[in-house]
């Protein structure tokens, strides 16, 4: 009934050697996923919106709808 002597030293080092590479890899994956899943599509959406954006047309449409206080619709 003689058990092997358990590891007495280097326990933290052993744990870090195992877990740190995994932690770094997962962090990088999370950052990459957010960049290519959220920020790039958002930048593309804004680029597409402003490519065909006519500011005066939108302004006139809003003016006719009556949302401004400084300019009233052409009818009034």
């Amino acid at each position: 009934m003689s058990l092997a002597k358990p590891a007495m030293r280097g326990l933290l080092a052993k744990r870090l050697r195992f877990h740190l590479p995994i932690a770094f890899a997962l962090s990088l994956v999370a950052a990459a996923a957010f960049k290519y899943g959220v920020t790039e599509p958002r930048k593309q959406a804004y680029a597409d919106f402003y490519k065909q954006y006519d500011a005066m047309k939108e302004f006139n449409a809003m003016k006719e709808a009556g949302v401004f206080q400084s300019v009233r619709p052409s009818g009034e």
Partner: protein, 202 residues
């Protein structure tokens, strides 16, 4: 029970030191030590923590249970101060005698019996969970449910009407105004409205 004339271990140092500071350092010091060593030889090891005053005709101080070493089943202190079984039955006494010999001749049951004399629970028994968490979770769910009933009753009997701004016609006018103002036209609200056909985008 202040009796400065007693020179036993318990009283000399504490009381005479307090009442007659000049005397205690020199005169009673040697006398107390001599009496204490004599008293220690008379009294057994177990009663060491309860110094008993026999002189002066004041009787024996009662030994309180909490002053004696106690038995604890704890992971942090695996070897308690005292054995679990203090009063051995005749079989246990004979087993203890047998323990003084070679341990190889002890049977398995005898070894377990010796263990149970010294300890109340094995490590496995003392570490085992109680299952109390089930009662706790059940209580949590029950009280959350009860709170739900209270909230329903409040909605019916305590709260008044919502403001007129929640009427469907008013909400419609609100939504139309949001579309007119082009709220979130890139990715959000107005982006989903088709202004040409005056309908939501398919």
């Amino acid at each position: 029970m202040i009796c400065p004339n007693i020179s036993c271990l318990r009283h000399s140092r504490s009381v005479t030191h307090f009442l007659y500071p000049s005397l205690s350092e020199r005169r009673t010091d040697g006398g107390a030590r001599m009496l204490a060593t004599r008293a220690l030889r008379l009294v057994g090891k177990r009663a060491l923590s309860t110094s008993i005053c026999l002189r002066g005709g004041h009787g024996v101080a009662k030994v309180e249970d909490y002053t004696l070493p106690a038995y604890f089943d704890r992971r942090e202190s695996p070897l308690p101060d005292i054995k679990f079984v203090q009063q051995l039955s005749p079989e246990q006494k004979s087993l203890k005698e047998k323990e003084k010999g070679s341990w190889a001749v002890l049977s398995k049951e005898e070894k377990i019996a010796l263990y149970r004399i010294s300890f109340k629970e094995s490590f496995a028994e003392m570490e085992k969970g109680t299952g109390e968490w089930k009662s706790v979770v059940a209580g949590i769910f029950f009280f959350i449910g009860f709170t739900g009933l209270v909230v329903l009753w409040q909605r019916k009997y305590v709260y008044g009407d919502v403001p007129h701004t929640f009427d469907p016609e008013h909400k419609q006018k609100e939504l139309q105004r949001m579309l007119d103002m082009r709220i979130n036209p890139v990715e959000g609200f107005s982006a989903k409205w088709d202004y040409e056909n005056n309908a939501w985008k398919k």
